[in-house]
Amino acid sequence: MASIHLQNIVKRYGGFVGVQNMSLEIADEEFLVLLGPSGCGKTTTMRMIAGLEVPTDGKIMIGGEVMNDVDARDRDVAMVFQGYALYPNMSIYENIRFPLRMRGVPASEHDARIRQAAEMVELGAYLDRKPAALSGGQRQRAALARAVVRQPQVFLMDEPLSNLDAKLRQSMRVQIKHMQRQLKVTTVYVTHDQIEAMTLADRIVIMNKGAIQQVGTPDEIYSDPANTFVAGFIGSPPMNLIEGTAQGGRFNAPGVSAPCPSNVQGKVTLGIRPEDCRIGGDNVQGLVYGVEPTGDTTYLTVLAGTKKIEVKAARDYRSDIDVSIGITFDPARLYFFGQDGERIRGVA
């Protein structure tokens, strides 16, 4: 199919910078997820790839061809939208057929292609219905069929699952991933949901304020965050970030004390994931602030000084509040970040 190259892309709206100087290579057949909070520029980036927005500066290439001033309709990309964007006046059949008609596919091929695409998303029985007569999940599958039917070079998906309820999201997620592997089409997927990003992506691009924060596989993003933004954004509950001072191989903050590499000095931030904390010990001396059993696990919040630290405890852990408690950090899983928020890697 096609690889995508973004070269120094900039998008400005008047004085506001939507995307700043972004460069990215997306390999052929890759499933790439753009992840970030709302307003971080991820959707704008996708819309520029689609041709729905024109970059202020920089180059967009699809399959090695510069696409900057090629119309969206000629880019051979298919897009799936958050609101499904099914044409309300057309039946599902006509909806799926629309791109075939627009692209001048011979009419004799239409029916077979439409039925294949509909079968693929298991909507064969609903082809005569209008979009309004379908449930949310069915509508989103119809939108997928419409994207699939013409075998585009690139799939673009803009938060396709965020209008669905949690249960449906999970099943649709699997379906989308399966379909992408089966069709081997380069896919760019925008979401603010980290679970979707982790489960779907070959690689994740984390964005904030119009700039890339980190690019990596889900594993890299999770266990090797590049800065405090990524560390605090990924994980549920996210990584504890504790501000303090490091001196002579020791990190100190109110109620917190932990070892640190010798090259970590001065005002720094310590990061530790809730699952890398254990109850007992003395890295943290604090009080129990709250206990939240969720069934398969229990989250414990400890107040150390004025800082609340999340700890993942055993499922049967229970405690009253305001009880003194100590916490131990897994020393191999400590992260340190400088004052600029960037990771300080320990000297081996």
Partner: protein, 280 residues
């Protein structure tokens, strides 16, 4: 609890008293006027009003024999329908641009279109009269058609624009990535999606066109181009005085189709009447 219920009962009585009174205020003159249409002329204008009518088809016979009412009706229909078609052809692309494209001067152009609605017909009456005189269009249904179209163009544009604003932008983006051109998107996606708005605009424009009086009076100065509205005014015909029973009958002939049209678009009426500013 008891007192709350009591006050509720009282307010209900007051409510139906008020609503019922106004219903009578609306209906009584209409029913009375309808009865005028089926009375002999001698009964209409008398020193003392006669409240128990004698049934008569005088007015009906008069319309059928002396007045080319069919022609007036035809003139009205041609001028009104034609003007609505012109309006839609001009307004739909304009509304699309105003609703969907970001371009310099959009606000000003939109407000200019809106403001033409504010212009009193009397202001432009004299120049338009001379313009059509020069063009040789006086006394013609075509002139009326052009005038009606101009009067309603702002209204139609703004109503359709309002409905287009409601269509999710995603729909267009989807169509664009599916390979459709701008005009195709307008034709295949936007127009079907805002059809209720287009119909509302067309109906309201038609009603205003049927109602238009001043220009029709000035431009249609001979019986060849009379529409229903002006024909009415001309039943004040000369030595016979005002022929009220014929006027009443003609009024109701025009009233029925308008009533049907309005019932069809009832849900959209308030939005249409405010040019889209109020969503009903």
């Amino acid at each position: 609890m008891a007192s709350a219920r009591k006050s509720r009962g009282e307010s209900l009585l007051l409510r139906y008293l008020v609503l019922g009174t106004w219903a009578l205020v609306c209906l009584l003159p209409i029913l009375w006027f309808l009865s005028i249409g089926f009375r002999p002329r001698t009964e209409v204008i008398t020193p003392q009003p006669i409240f128990w009518p004698t049934f008569s088809l005088d007015a009906w016979h008069l319309l059928m024999s002396d007045w080319p009412i069919a022609m007036y009706l035809r003139n009205s229909v041609i001028a009104v329908a034609g003007s609505v078609v012109i309006d839609l052809i001009l307004a739909i692309p304009a509304a699309y641009a105003l609703a969907r494209y970001d371009f310099k001067g959009r606000e000003d152009i939109g407000f200019y279109i809106l403001s033409t609605r504010m212009m009193a017909p009397a202001i432009v009456a004299v120049p338009i009269f001379f313009l059509f005189k020069t063009l040789g269009l006086l006394d013609s249904v075509w002139a009326l058609m052009l005038i009606y179209a101009a009067i309603n163009l702002s209204l139609v544009t703004w109503i359709i624009r309002s409905y287009m604003l409601d269509i999710p932008k995603e729909l267009e983006d989807a169509a664009r990535t599916d390979g459709a051109s701008d005009l195709r998107i307008l034709w295949e996606i936007i127009i079907p999606a805002c059809l209720p708005g287009i119909i509302t605009a067309a109906v309201i424009a038609a009603i205003f066109a049927i109602n238009e009086f001043l220009f029709t009076l000035l431009i249609a100065s001979t019986a060849n181009a009379y529409t229903m509205s002006v024909a009415l005014a001309n039943f004040t015909g000369g030595s016979d005085g005002i022929i009220y029973n014929a006027i009443a009958l003609v009024s109701f002939i025009a009233f029925v189709p308008i009533l049907i049209l309005v019932i069809l678009i009832q849900k959209h009426l308030s939005r249409g009447l405010t040019m889209g500013a109020v969503k009903g």
